[in-house]
């Protein structure tokens, strides 16, 4: 005897049940995370050794940090981190002009072929260790940051950390759009930091420039 169709639950019911469980689980995870974040704000200290830029605290500014291991001595890297050399490894930097008194003007590529001008002042230098800066009111984008040089263990060279905060010109939406266009400061800084590593370790900035059968590409230009 064959079973009638009604004996078996509609597969859609299984699908709906599955989707419901997924929604509930996602909701529970978000609620847990919010609860965790709220309770953390009330504590005096946070028991962690994580770098501060890796903690997911809310900030009106877009804040991030990125560290790379560079197989060169700390003093050499500190000495190489100068505005004159920035265009060698900062792909998005068009020019850095010294305005004197530790103030420099940066012309930077922005989304949609535009350029923005940053005017930043170096606020503190610790020899062979770190450089801090803060934007001046003349800057198109308010920003501040630090580049930090720390000895890596076991003679492996130096950890170089770039920590940067900025006010995204069009808020979170603008930041997301800039990311899609590969012109967002976090994306740019992360890539530039790797270019600095390449330049310091190998003497050149790595490029995949090579031919392809795609008409628009040049064999002398890098591509994604």
């Amino acid at each position: 005897m064959s079973r009638s169709k009604n004996d078996l639950p509609d597969p859609l019911i299984f699908a709906a049940a599955g989707a419901g469980i997924a929604v509930l689980a996602t909701g529970a995870a978000l609620w847990q995370r919010r609860r965790h974040r709220e309770s953390r704000g009330q504590e005096e200290t946070i028991a962690t050794d994580a770098p501060h830029w890796t903690l997911d605290k809310d900030s009106s500014r877009a804040m991030f940090g990125k560290s790379v291991l560079i197989n060169r001595p700390r003093a050499e890297l500190y000495a190489a981190w100068t505005p004159e050399r920035f265009p060698d490894f900062m792909e998005n930097v068009v020019a850095v002009d010294d305005l004197g008194d530790d103030v420099s003007q940066w012309t930077i590529k922005a989304p949609a072929g535009r350029e923005v001008t940053l005017v930043n002042r170096i606020t503190e230098r610790v020899e062979d260790t770190s450089i801090y800066w803060q934007s001046t009111p003349a800057s198109d984008i308010a920003n501040s940051g630090e580049v930090r040089f720390t000895d890596a263990p076991a003679g492996r060279g130096t950890y170089v950390s770039l920590i940067l905060a900025y006010d995204p010109p069009a808020g979170k939406v603008g930041r997301f759009a800039a990311k899609l266009l590969q012109r967002e400061p976090e994306v740019q800084a992360r890539r530039d930091l790797h270019r600095f590593k390449q330049l310091m370790e190998t003497g050149e900035v790595t490029t995949n420039a090579s031919p392809s059968a795609r008409g628009a590409e040049s064999p002398a230009e890098p591509h994604i």
Partner: protein, 405 residues
């Protein structure tokens, strides 16, 4: 120049593209004289490797003559060189540890993001193998730009013909590293899954490294015949239960070391592999790990597992409990080619490897599309294809048929 390009799944075409140029001081340009199709090119052909773009030039086993050098290159015009498929700077933490395929500089800033997202850390660069490994043009072309040319290329003496040394680019060091990673002790029994070119070099390497016996597993008669020629005992998995046979050949203990030279596209009609095939067809998986599962179950307790086979992502039904309870140690990874180049070139000169008899076909670069199809569809007769730029289309020479075992 003319170059072999990937245009999509199962679509390979030979196109006219711009010549490469010197871009960085350490670069060199070579004119390719021989370039092979690799088993891992099949994963590109089948569309299982993410990050390919239509128009990419493929190929990562090649050699040629230096025709142009950048200011900081140590090569000289006219030198014959074999090019390792891995691009390595020689100066980062990883290269200094001789973990060349993990080079932290060769995957450019523009392409490393996607690689980092997928793997946790960006992979090193490689020629002609998708944008997750740098998006470099490959060696199935008339000319190639070689970055860091002072580190990778192996200069070849004029008296050694191309066929003797071409495989220093990938499959010979890959087979060698596969055997080195198996930590072979004198008298060990070593089982090798897959008798493609890497498997065949793994067999030769394992015996050179002191294995008492090597048992090779495949189902293509020609490939099994080659395995036997190189000194292995052979199992055709369509004729026997591989695990039962391995146990019965080792007094119930199992092989001391198991080497997976198959990778992500296992063949065979076992239940687990059919399920993997279905999942792959439904695009919910890329990995068919039947050979690896079998290797883990077959390996003796406390034995060693070496995985030179290429995998791309997350795998299903991985026998983790079996791996742990049996206390296996695992070594894997892309080949640190530059680490082995010198000693392997010496061993070729001393006649320790047979690098010739696995080559089944020499064909013009212009016939690449046909050759990829044969490499994919006719794996018994096509055991290794070497492409030659400059040969006239259709000028294909095939090996005389092997004496079957």
């Amino acid at each position: 120049m003319r170059a072999v390009t990937w245009q999509g799944r199962h679509k390979i075409s030979v196109e006219t593209v711009p010549d490469p140029e010197i871009v960085n001081p350490r670069d060199a340009i070579i004119r390719v004289t021989s370039t092979a199709i690799c088993g891992s090119d099949l994963h590109l052909y089948d569309g299982y490797i993410p990050g390919m773009r239509a128009g990419d030039i493929v190929g990562h086993e090649f050699m040629g003559e230096v025709i142009e050098t950048g200011a900081a290159s140590t090569l000289k015009r006219g030198q014959r060189v074999v090019i390792p498929f891995t691009i390595s700077c020689g100066q980062c933490f990883f290269c200094e540890k001789k973990q060349y395929s993990a080079c932290d500089n060769s995957n450019p800033s523009e392409t490393r993001d996607a690689s980092e997202l997928m793997m946790g850390h960006a992979m090193g660069g490689a020629f002609g193998y998708a944008h997750l490994t740098g998006g470099y043009a490959g060696g199935q072309a008339e000319y190639v730009r070689i970055p860091y040319s002072d580190v990778g290329p192996v200069v070849i003496p004029d008296d050694l013909p191309d066929d003797d040394v071409l495989f220093l680019s990938d499959i010979l060091p890959t087979g060698w590293q596969a055997a080195v990673n198996a930590d072979i002790e004198p008298g060990d029994t070593v089982a090798v899954w897959g008798c493609g070119p890497v498997g065949l070099f793994t067999i030769q390497s394992a015996l050179l490294l002191g294995a008492g016996r090597v048992i090779a597993i495949d189902h293509f008669p020609t490939r099994l015949a080659l395995a036997r020629k190189y000194g292995a005992e052979i199992l055709d998995y369509t004729q026997v239960d591989v695990r039962e046979a391995l146990d019965e050949m080792t007094g119930g203990v199992g092989p001391d070391a198991c080497i997976d030279c198959v990778g992500m596209e296992s063949h065979g009609f076992t239940a687990d592999n059919i399920l993997d095939q279905v999942k792959v067809k439904m695009l919910s998986s890329t990995e068919r790990i039947h050979a690896l599962r079998q290797a883990i179950l077959a390996c003796r307790k406390g034995g060693r597992l070496s995985i030179p086979g290429v995998y791309g992502g997350f795998a299903d039904k991985f026998p983790l409990g079996q791996l742990m309870e049996k206390g296996l140690s695992v070594k894997s990874g892309q080949t640190h080619v530059q680490r082995y180049s010198g000693e392997l070139l010496d061993m070729i000169r001393e006649g320790k490897f047979d690098t010739i008899s696995l080559i089944s076909h020499h064909a013009p670069l212009e016939d690449a599309a046909d050759m990829y199809r044969h490499w994919h569809d006719d794996q018994d007769l096509y055991t290794k294809i070497v492409l030659k730029p400059g040969l006239k289309k259709g000028d294909i020479s095939a090996r005389q048929e092997l004496q079957h075992a």
